[in-house]
């Protein structure tokens, strides 16, 4: 599920929350620092967040190199490399070619390196397969070739079996198949299976390897040439980009080629090398000094000391049985915490205790795979590492209790078997206390819930009062298609007095992942679904359903326990997610943002999505259509007069309640499909026929039917609107139309107008008009209601595939 800008809104929400908690966007104090200590917020802390793994940035030779270069060439040399470069550039390239024993081109950053490389190396008829977790900078550069129509795919992280399957298939159509991956992944610190990839290079002549080894640079291999090249020479069908900005400690990037012609060509025509500025003198000066160290035996000692620190860290993590998520190949460690709230809690406590560690949080990792990410450098002493990990082990269970997260939850979130015994579990058990002042009541059918209790909470909010849900339960079971069968779960959280503090109902069913994507994206996905009906679909647990609109979550914000109640609801949703093996959980249709609820959901691994606006007509005190006319703005009156009232007499209007013949139902269904097929803004599966039958048999529903009269008269109606009556709210939920004369007579507008008149006739107080057609709905007096949803994705692979489609669409637009 995605929507334009939603991703950025979500990231903004998460990062802003981290800033508010004072663990992101921090600054060091304006005082000199050296080694492992930095000053943050007036306090000296041990830094466990640096990617300068060898600590070379404090080496006097690098500092001198930078100073000398500035004195020699100034603070910058502002000319494109296509014209002229400072002489030291050549010297550095020669040194780097010695380090890598391959052809090298320097670039100001690795990101620019990818942007220079990928469009030049990848031809239009090539195929690109990206590892799901390949660095964002590679994915960004791939968008450029995607816009040219290059075939792009994602493959699940490090799944060499799936990669080989794809190579075998794609080699039939493509001369070159590029696999793009990282050497060492920047978040979890795990490694690419390089041996297997080299096997593929030998086995498949069409296979090309493009790798970003930024986090492996300097700390592995002869002369510090990196993790990927630590056991192999560069292959002739291989290209590596690596960073001089991490353990190399000088800034910049270097592109390493197995093919001399590639180096020449990218150096000649690679976009940023033609038109962007070069790496600057200070960086070049430092890099030359760093390169000389890499070419000396000194690098071996440095690497050894770092490796000792890594081994020591692993011993301590094992000692305290902290949930280390991957076998570290670099100096990056990731201790899983599952939910962001636990991550925030621990990072904050660590900072207070004098240790700076990173929060690994969405979007760099999936929402429920938040973790404490920390790095170890050569400069750390064993004592410093020991004190930090001991503190982490001390804090961990305390924070777990505070945030009500168990070790089991953590291992489950990362799909790792929990170790049999754990020191932490013992401590946790001794600390956890249950308050037990709230209870969750869970029902599988609305019939087990007292209608008065339910309707007190939800009547007038949508088509999900007791009666509405009864219809849905009957319609969405026993159908032949999987998407037409839903599971229902009703949850009520009550306090000791029996007051409902929070309540909702969940439906679990198959959704299209592109439901909220722009129509252009859905068009592409639908094209694939012609041969693979369930492509990019997945099981979703939704608070609400695909057919209901409105605020499906009841919270008594007056209660001092509403947050605890929500917490229980969320935990229940997680357990249902496990039970039903659903990928996503969605809480939908929030009208506006409640700041505290927003934070609570973010803490629990949910991100906010912007949904299409909803619409409501309120203040229906008017008595006649004339009075209604005068409630509208001047523009809307003009519109109503010219586009609606002018054609009003062309229509016969009928209100149909109760059973209708099957033939009528079939026709209505055809009209519904006309509308469904036309609009992809909210891309869902078509509703089942059975729903229409259930609706026609239910006294809360009625159908407004429009017939054209006179010479345009047809035997069959041109429009039907299925409307639900819930308390004093009127809810037109489904529309079906014959578009033949829509342009001529404004059938849709007429339908909206008739809905308004009918609602008034029934004495309704408001009309819930739902999503889409904002302009038309505003013109008949509707208020626009910004609407949001919250989503938790267990596995983001399908969303990433969808996002990659979105990006190419955006790029080609």
């Amino acid at each position: 599920m995605s929507k334009t800008n939603s991703f950025y809104d979500t990231v903004d929400q998460i990062v802003t929350y981290g800033i508010e908690k004072k663990i992101l966007h921090l600054f060091t104090e304006d005082v000199p620092f050296e080694g492992t200590k930095i000053m943050i917020n007036g306090k000296q802390v041990l830094n466990f967040g640096s990617c300068s793994y060898l600590g070379l940035e404090f080496d006097e030779r690098l500092k001198e190199g930078a100073i000398k270069a500035i004195k020699k060439y100034g603070t910058q040399f502002s000319e494109s490399r296509a014209y002229v470069s400072v002489g030291s550039y050549k010297e550095l390239e020669i040194l780097l070619e010695k380090i890598f024993e391959a052809y090298c081109v320097i670039t100001p950053t690795t990101t620019l390196g990818h942007i220079a490389n990928i469009p030049v190396l990848v031809d239009d008829d090539d195929a690109v397969i990206m590892d799901q977790q390949v660095h964002n900078s590679v994915q960004t550069a791939v968008q450029i070739v995607k816009a040219r129509g290059v075939h792009i795919e994602l493959v699940r992280h490090n799944r060499m079996d799936l990669l080989e399957e794809r190579i075998k298939e794609l080699r039939q159509k493509h001369k070159k198949i590029w696999y793009m991956a990282d050497g060492i992944y920047s978040m979890f610190g795990d490694c690419s299976p390089v041996e297997k990839i080299y096997e593929f290079l030998e086995r498949y002549p069409e296979f090309y390897y493009y790798v970003d080894d930024a986090h492996g640079m300097s700390i592995h291999g002869k002369h510090g040439r990196g993790f990927v090249l630590s056991n192999h020479r560069i292959h002739s069908r291989m290209m590596m980009v690596t960073s001089l900005n991490k353990a190399f400690a000088s800034g910049g990037g270097v592109m390493v080629y197995g093919d001399k012609e590639w180096a020449r060509k990218v150096g000649t025509v690679g976009g940023p090398l033609l038109s962007s500025g070069p790496m600057q003198p200070s960086g070049i000066g430092a890099a030359i000094a760093a390169a000389k160290i890499h070419l000396s035996d000194e690098i071996i000692e440095m690497q050894e000391r770092l490796q000792d620190n890594i081994q020591f860290t692993l011993l301590l993590l094992k000692k305290y049985k902290l949930p280390l998520i991957s076998k570290a190949g670099a100096a990056i460690f990731f201790v899983g915490v599952s939910l962001p709230k636990l991550g925030h809690n621990i990072v904050r406590r660590m900072l207070d205790a004098g240790y700076y560690v990173n929060l690994g949080v969405f979007p760099t990792v999936p929402m429920k795979q938040t973790g404490i990410r920390f790095t170890i450098t050569r400069l750390h002493t064993f004592k410093e590492i020991e004190s930090m990990i001991t503190k982490l082990a001390e804090i961990f269970p305390l924070a777990m209790v505070e945030e009500n997260v168990t070790l089991q939850d953590i291992y489950k979130a990362f799909r790792i078997a929990m170790p049999e015994e754990s020191l932490l579990v013992d401590r946790e058990n001794s600390l956890i206390k249950t308050t037990g002042s709230l209870t969750v009541e869970h029902f599988k059918t609305i019939h087990d819930i007292d209608q008065q209790i339910w309707d007190k909470l939800f009547e007038g909010k949508g088509t999900f009062d007791w009666g509405g849900l009864d219809v849905l339960e009957r319609a969405f079971k026993g159908n032949s298609l999987p998407e037409d069968n839903w599971l229902f779960d009703y949850l009520l959280v009550k306090d000791l007095k029996g007051n409902v503090i929070a309540a909702t109902f969940f439906t679990t069913g198959l959704w299209k992942d592109d439901m909220l994507s722009p129509a252009g994206i859905s068009e592409q996905v639908e094209a694939k679904r012609k041969t693979d009906s369930y492509y990019l679909t997945g099981k979703v647990i939704c608070a609400g359903s695909l057919i209901t609109e409105g605020e499906h979550l009841y919270i008594d914000y007056q209660s001092s326990q509403w947050k605890e109640a929500m917490q229980l609801l969320i935990e229940k949703a997680y357990s249902l997610q496990d039970l039903y093996e659903a990928n996503h959980i969605v809480f939908r249709d929030f009208h506006g943002i409640h700041h505290e609820l927003d934070n609570l959901l973010a803490d629990n691994g949910f991100f906010r999505l912007t949904m299409p606006d909803s619409h409501v007509i309120e203040g229906m005190e008017w008595k006649t259509s004339e009075e209604f006319y005068h409630t509208l703005s001047i523009n809307s009156r003009n519109h109503l007069r010219k586009k609606v009232l002018r054609h009003k007499d062309q229509f016969d209007i009928d209100i149909i309640e109760g059973k209708v013949p099957q033939k009528t139902l079939d026709y209505w269904y055809r009209l519904y499909l006309n509308v469904k097929e036309k609009g992809l803004e909210l891309n869902t599966f078509a509703l089942p026929r059975k729903l229409f039958k259930a609706i026609s048999e239910d006294h809360n529903w009625e159908v407004i039917q429009l017939h054209l009269k006179d010479r345009y008269a047809q035997e069959l109606p041109c429009c039907v609107i299925f409307c639900y009556k819930s308390g004093r709210a009127y809810i037109p939920m489904i529309i079906g139309m014959d578009y033949t004369f829509n342009a001529k007579f404004g059938i849709y507008r007429q339908a909206l107008y008739q809905v308004v008149l009918r609602a008034r006739q029934l004495g309704m107080e408001k009309i819930l008009l739902g999503f889409s057609a904002t302009i038309e709905k505003k013109k008949i007096g509707a208020r626009v209601v910004p609407t949001f949803a919250y989503m938790h994705a267990r596995d983001t692979f399908q969303l990433e595939v969808l996002s990659s489609i979105s990006k190419v669409s955006a790029a080609s637009n």
Binding site: E304, R305, Q307, D308, Q311, F312, L315, L316, K319, F382
Partner: protein
Amino acid sequence: MINITRVEYCRFSLKGRLRLLDLFGELVFEKITPNREMGVFKLNDFYVAVIKDLEMNSVIEASPLWTVDQLQFYFSQ
């Protein structure tokens, strides 16, 4: 104290081993000959023999002892 096995200890470089012994090792035996200084440390539940070359003034070995015979060998020197 640190939980470490002999195999894990062997993953450390010579300098790393000395850093470990410095922090967690307990010297149980020491002997100086004209050329060498020998020490046996207890680390967790095993012993480590450290040999320093006095002429070069550097430690040349810090290896774990795998058998009782090896341990006795050092004590009998």
